[in-house]
């Protein structure tokens, strides 16, 4: 059952340096209970696109210049400000990267979570308290009842992230947006949080959009991924297929440039030439062409659209055959061709 349908979403930022084309017409859908990974580097539009969906971007300078976002059939992109709170918190919940700044430092965590359930679910004071203890226990905070009166700074980084997750699931959302929630955490804590979200997802049958630049993390948690570059989705599909047969030069580059614990080290890291694009002055044609070794004349003029590589797996490139042939001869990660 389709929970979320994003159609041609477009977001611009109007700054004194010019117009930043942050998101350039992306479309995807998400079923109930599914996990989608949004993968890309800084500036690719992954965070902006999801924040735009729930209207959490500062508008101005941001402006949603096109598209639709259908959540349970209803277009939430064009909700009136007064109606937006019905979706946020209750139906769609978000967890962010830095729990220190996303939790109110001068409110106890008990109050913060209780507030969320009272506002969104209309629970009474005592009911809210019970629910708070329930979710804190669910996320693995020991002796939750005793910790209701504690402030965020009294928790460690990993614990704070759990508190934030507790707050997010307190209203039983249908969709959880996780925006780089483990990027600033230590590796063992990261593992804990990833396992926690996996478990919660199954228990609550929640859909999850997990935004990250870490290919290892996304490999653990996502079933499908969208690879984003310069505000476009350049590859999309089941994660196993994409990792096995990456069909966009950027994906190939990304996968090749990440070292792996389990592979040998006597090779150069395959790296992507150049630097991420200037989002104010995107190149003509395919946004990736300045850095692409498979580019052709056509790439400089015409922007490729997503085409099917295999069932459910699509990539936006004019030269997919050339790329796949190249990869077959020389598996990615063996230096540069």
């Amino acid at each position: 059952m389709t929970l979320l349908k994003v159609r041609d979403l477009e977001v611009r930022f109007y700054t004194k340096d010019g117009e930043v084309r942050a998101v350039n017409g992306i479309s995807y859908s998400l079923d109930q209970g599914e996990t989608l990974g949004l993968v890309g580097e800084s500036g690719c539009g992954k965070s902006v696109s999801t924040m735009a969906m729930v209207r959490l971007l500062p508008e101005p300078p941001a402006k949603i210049t096109g598209g639709q976002v259908l959540f349970e059939g209803e277009d939430i992109l064009h909700l009136k400000p007064a109606d937006r709170h019905q979706v946020r918190g209750g139906k769609i919940a978000i967890i962010f990267q830095d729990p220190m700044t996303s939790l109110n430092p001068v409110m106890t965590i008990g109050d913060q979570i209780a507030e969320a359930v009272q506002v969104n679910l209309g629970l009474s004071g005592e009911q809210a308290r019970q629910r708070t203890i329930e979710v804190l226990t669910q996320v693995g905070i020991p002796k939750a009842e005793d910790r209701l009166a504690d402030y965020p700074h009294q928790f460690s980084g990993g614990m704070r992230q759990r508190v934030m997750i507790a707050m997010a699931i307190s209203c039983r959302p249908k969709l959880l947006i996780a925006d780089e929630p483990t990027t600033s955490l230590d590796v063992t804590i990261q593992a804990q949080i990833v396992e926690l979200v996996r478990r919660l997802q199954q228990e609550l049958n929640m859909a999850v959009i997990w935004i990250t630049h870490d290919l290892g993390v996304v490999a653990r948690i996502a079933k499908r991924i969208n690879v984003m570059y310069a505000g476009y989705i350049v590859e999309t599909g089941p994660i196993k297929r994409i990792f096995k047969r990456p069909s966009h030069p950027y994906t190939v580059g990304l996968l090749g440039s990440v070292p792996r614990m389990d592979l040998g080290t006597d090779r150069e890291l395959y790296y992507v030439e150049g630097a991420p694009p200037d989002m104010i002055r995107l190149p003509e044609g395919c946004p990736f062409h300045p850095r692409c070794r498979y580019r052709t004349e056509r790439c400089l003029q015409e922007r490729p659209l997503l085409v099917e590589v295999e069932p459910e797996h699509r990539a936006a490139c004019w030269n997919i055959e050339g790329l796949l042939a190249d990869q077959a001869n020389q598996p990615m990660g063996e230096g540069r061709a």
Binding site: G158, A191, P259, M261
Partner: protein, 327 residues
């Protein structure tokens, strides 16, 4: 096989930071950031240092370079005792050892041109001046993959990756033999990280450098290091050649670390056995008695709560500090 030279020798290094309370700033305790760390770094190798926050790896690096004066212990560089040096002698010794910082946005003086940033160390140490210095700067920029034309630019005009290259060039201005790389790629985008790591490897080959590579990115450290050391709460728990330590980790913490490190392969991730540690890292101000890891160790025994295990060479070149392997 010839015995490789020891370039840097760290002996029982300790770095304690006093905790002061009250109006009179009485010392009530110490944060034992580094608590008795010993290892050798061989000429031409890359030693990787990994561990999570609070383990003391950054403090260790500063203590080696004498940017903090160690509370106890000795550090030998090219056979000479750095901890005993002061003033001018130490200052001159600094040309032998340099550091590359994590944050490319704060490690370059925003008000100095690239040219000045690079010529200053040369002038100060009498390596080169005037025209000669300028030529050398051009050489260095070329070496790190940047256009020498950039000497008149300010750091703000460059991207993170480019700034990191400038930082690397700066470290090279004084011809060091040893460079500490303190999380040099953590602040960079994934596609740029690979560029910088490849550059560091190339420079090592061409200039015969020795690296201490500190990072929390386990796979990157494994990729670039010949040997790896794992730290936990101010102590080294395991030290071995990279290949060995990754395929056969002996210390429970190392095993948990590797288990937690994500592998970008969904098939493997799906089927992996995970060791998920309970709880949080204890505070370095009040480390657990006995083995510091015992509070989270899935294999803890009684003795672990009482006695600290020593770092012992279990197999040639493979050191572990764990009672499970002790005598």
């Amino acid at each position: 096989m010839a015995e490789p030279n020891v370039l840097v020798k760290v002996e029982n290094l300790k770095q304690y930071f006093p905790i002061k309370r009250g109006l009179l700033q009485r010392v009530v305790g110490h944060i034992k950031a580094v608590d008795g760390v010993s290892f050798d770094i061989y000429e031409g190798e890359t030693l990787g240092l990994v561990g999570e926050s609070g383990c003391g790896k950054t403090t260790t690096s500063r203590a080696i370079l004498q940017l903090y004066r160690p509370t106890a212990g000795k550090v030998y560089m090219e056979g000479r005792d750095l901890t005993a040096m002061q003033g001018e002698e130490l200052r001159q010794m600094r040309t032998r050892m340099q550091i590359i910082f994590q944050n490319p946005y704060s490690s370059l003086n925003p008000r100095m041109t690239v040219g000045r940033i690079l010529t200053e160390p040369m002038q100060v140490h009498g390596v080169a001046k005037g025209k000669e210095a300028q030529e050398r700067v051009a050489e260095l920029l070329h070496l790190v993959g940047m256009n020498p034309y950039f000497v008149n630019r300010f750091p703000a005009e460059f991207s993170g990756g480019q700034r990191q290259r400038i930082g690397i060039a700066r470290a090279l201005t004084v011809n060091p033999s040893f460079i500490i790389c303190d999380e040099p790629i953590s602040s960079l985008d994934v596609s740029i990280q690979a560029q910088i790591v490849n550059l560091l490897k190339k420079l090592q080959r061409e200039l015969g450098l020795t690296y201490l590579f500190i990072s929390h990115d386990l796979s990157m450290v494994r990729f670039i290091s010949n040997r790896m050391a794992v730290m936990y709460l101010g102590k080294i728990v395991e030290l071995a050649p990279s290949e060995e330590i990754v395929t056969t980790p002996l210390h429970p913490y190392t095993q948990a670390l590797w288990s937690a490190a994500p592998i970008p392969d969904p098939e493997i991730e799906e089927s992996r056995e995970r060791i998920v540690l309970e709880g949080d890292v204890p505070s370095p101000a009040n480390p657990p008695k006995g083995c510091r890891f015992h509070t989270r160790c899935p294999q803890a025994m009684d003795i672990c709560r009482q006695e600290e295990p020593l770092l012992q060479e279990l197999q040639p070149g493979h050191w572990v500090a764990c009672h499970r392997y002790g005598n």
